[in-house]
Homo-oligomer: 428 residues x 2
């Protein structure tokens, strides 16, 4: 008897599923202890259905979601539509009907995960979503199954392939942000409205999920600070290289004495840091913990086959649990009371690029302002820029978010100083 | 009610277990659904017992293994003695007594794994050994649980920390093999007899286990070709760098049309390859597959806490399965009939360093010999070495093991040519 699945949507990722079921059928069947069969596929309308049939897709396409949700033969519903609605309503209905659900929808799970998981629990249904974070990298299941013995102190991740592709061009080729974006759009890596990718929003959704699996805490999406890559200039990139760093958009979740802090921001990574050599559209999750110490999980963050591989891994787990009669287990069982860190506990070194009139005493004044907030300098570089404007680059020692906002406020008050950019620096 | 465990041995790794049970107790208990308690610890003799007690270790030390194996309250036996005997006998007895067993003993599992797994199966006992490959990296469970949906085509791994530390010194600092070995011994990374580490034997044991989890095939240890790092010279390292490569000791298991091939050998990795930046004592496993494409799992290959973290992860899984009443599942369920590749199917590019008298026509003769085996050149470098001896470096295009042994035989027949080194080259 086969396990029958219903797909919601038949876009890029979904069409990778038949590939794996065909090319890896024997191994999948042995692992699931059952054949996995695509019973029905929901598409938008008859036009899409006819187009897909004409293109040789030999499946039972339906245009009404009830045809899947009310089908007693279907035990697993696979949602690959993306966005919030109607995916949310469909998943909720499927769970309420006792179907197990696999999804790759990070936006939805980051924002409405808690309520969906509650529905799943109520109906003893599984809701798995390995593909929602870092596409092909099996990071969520690894956190849930293997790193249970370890206490994680920090997770750093290159979590967005589009922005990482762009940063790689900006670092390796010296391209501007605009040129890198145009190339990413040309190659289909970036959408015409790239906001979600380049402003760190997509990575922030993933940070929400990683904080649940890694720290047992559900942080609201709004509590993840996010800063994008659009303000990064070739000057920033060049000075980073000169000082031994690579700039990347990095998701950062860590536990402090007062709670956890999550943010996504352009980050100076020391060249030797394992994340520094994660290039192009690849993703990686770097985990710091009291047991293993440092470990990293690297792979493609998106793409048809990698994402479908994670989706099928979830399907196999559910099918196997159905076979073994123990399907109740949550994907993530690690749950603690959520505590958000106080800004004074969230500490990092920072890079400041400040423009100032090229006149005597300016560096002294800058030093006084930083000193008044008890911030000390690690490295300082004064560069003459255009005409009579100098550019001062400072890498500080560790300071807290409280100190950071205080010093930025003070710098703002001095008409002479313009803070061009402030980025986090790792390893200082 | 707590799950009681018995430790066989209380060396470096074993003493990392109490650290995790204490520092991460809450999370471990939640995951296992039970408290995990160290009930008894087997030590060699009364001297060791008294020494450990005097050092403040407050455990129930025993000197007779039966005190653990015959204790009905102990459900999990953790073997951390290393070597083959008496570990093998003890594990077998524990399994036969219905105890579940966790081990980090790669030598034992690589050589006698099949018989131990048979005993485990017969007694419906679990035998888990995540720590046996790449210490802290959760690679075996990831292969068994997450990569079930994917078909793996090749696994490449930096699997031995000692030799990787040495190679890193040889590459980054230009040290000789002898200097790197002396340093590794001074730091305690290498034993006084370093054979297992530097000759690729330790990595070959791990390749046996990876071939089971990744390919479902049990390859005999003797079928893993292994070549060590002791013959690598500063000349080899320098020319590799000049040509854009880094030399590392790499375990390589891949599936060919006729079966799988496993070997451990010094390998030229292109500088951009993710494994090329795995330095020092760190390990990494790089997986090529039809779904994900390329993924890598990076972390410490040894050490007290990393290894103990993997051991405790296994203990948690067993404790949880005991709680859930489904403890029968094998660690690795992927089993196919073992097929060993025919040498003519195992293809790679190769590096040849050949010494030859510095006289006219030698390169032509070399080219003729390679051409007679249908081997073509990718890059050729002729370097004048000492006096009237020239050193010719060749990077070939892809050739099979059959072609390799044929050409080496022909080169041997020509008194003029001395093959100094032959190493595999990736990415050509």
């Amino acid at each position: 008897m086969a396990v029958k699945i219903g797909l919601l949507g038949f876009g890029t990722v979904a069409s990778g599923i038949p590939f794996l079921l065909k090319e890896n059928g024997e191994k999948i069947r042995a692992a699931a202890k059952d054949k996995i069969e695509i019973a029905k596929i929901l598409v938008k309308d008859d036009d899409e259905k006819n187009r897909l049939l004409a293109a040789g897709n030999d499946y039972h396409f339906v245009t009404d979601v009830d045809a899947i949700i009310k089908d007693p033969d279907i035990s697993i519903v696979v949602e690959l539509m993306g966005r919030i609605e109607p995916a949310r309503t469909f998943i909720e209905a499927a769970l309420a009907a006792g179907k197990h659900v696999v999804s790759a929808n990070k936006d939805l799970l980051a924002v409405h995960g808690a309520e969906l998981l509650a529905v799943a629990k109520e109906h003893r249904a599984a809701l798995y979503y390995e593909a929602a974070v870092a596409g092909g990298i099996p990071i969520l299941r690894t956190l849930a199954n293997s790193l249970t013995s370890d206490k994680i102190t920090r997770i750093l991740g290159v979590l967005n392939g589009t922005s990482n592709f762009m940063m790689t061009q900006m670092v390796d080729e010296g391209w501007t942000y605009e040129a890198a974006l145009a190339k990413a759009q040309e190659l289909g890596y970036a959408e015409s409205d790239p906001t979600n990718d380049v402003e760190g929003i997509d990575a922030a959704y993933k940070a929400v999920l990683l904080s649940q699996f890694g720290f047992g805490m559900t942080i609201d999406f709004d509590q993840v600070l996010h800063q994008g890559i659009s303000t990064i200039t070739p000057d920033d990139v060049a000075v980073a290289q000169e000082l031994g760093y690579v700039i990347k958009l990095v998701g950062d979740i860590r536990e402090t004495p007062s709670g956890i802090a999550a943010e996504v921001s352009p980050t100076f990574l020391p060249k030797e840091h394992p994340l520094a050599s994660v290039n192009g559209v690849m993703n990686a999750v770097f985990v710091e913990s009291i047991g293993i110490g440092e470990s990293m999980y690297y792979g493609p963050g998106a793409g048809q086959k990698p994402t479908a591989t994670s989706v099928v891994a979830d399907i196999i787990r559910i099918a196997r649990r159905l076979h073994d009669g123990n399907v109740g287990k949550s994907f993530n069982e690690f749950v603690r009371e959520t505590q958000i860190a106080h800004p004074s506990d969230v500490k990092s070194a920072y890079y400041f690029a400040i423009s100032t009139p090229d006149k005597r005493g300016q560096l002294l004044r800058l030093a006084q302002i930083f000193n008044s907030e008890a911030i000390s300098f690690g490295q300082v570089l004064q560069q003459r820029a255009n005409g009579d404007t100098a550019r001062v680059v400072i890498i500080t020692h560790s300071l807290s978010r409280t100190q950071l906002s205080n010093v930025l406020e003070k710098l703002e008050e001095v008409a002479d100083f313009e803070v061009l950019n402030t980025f986090k620096v790792l390893g200082e």
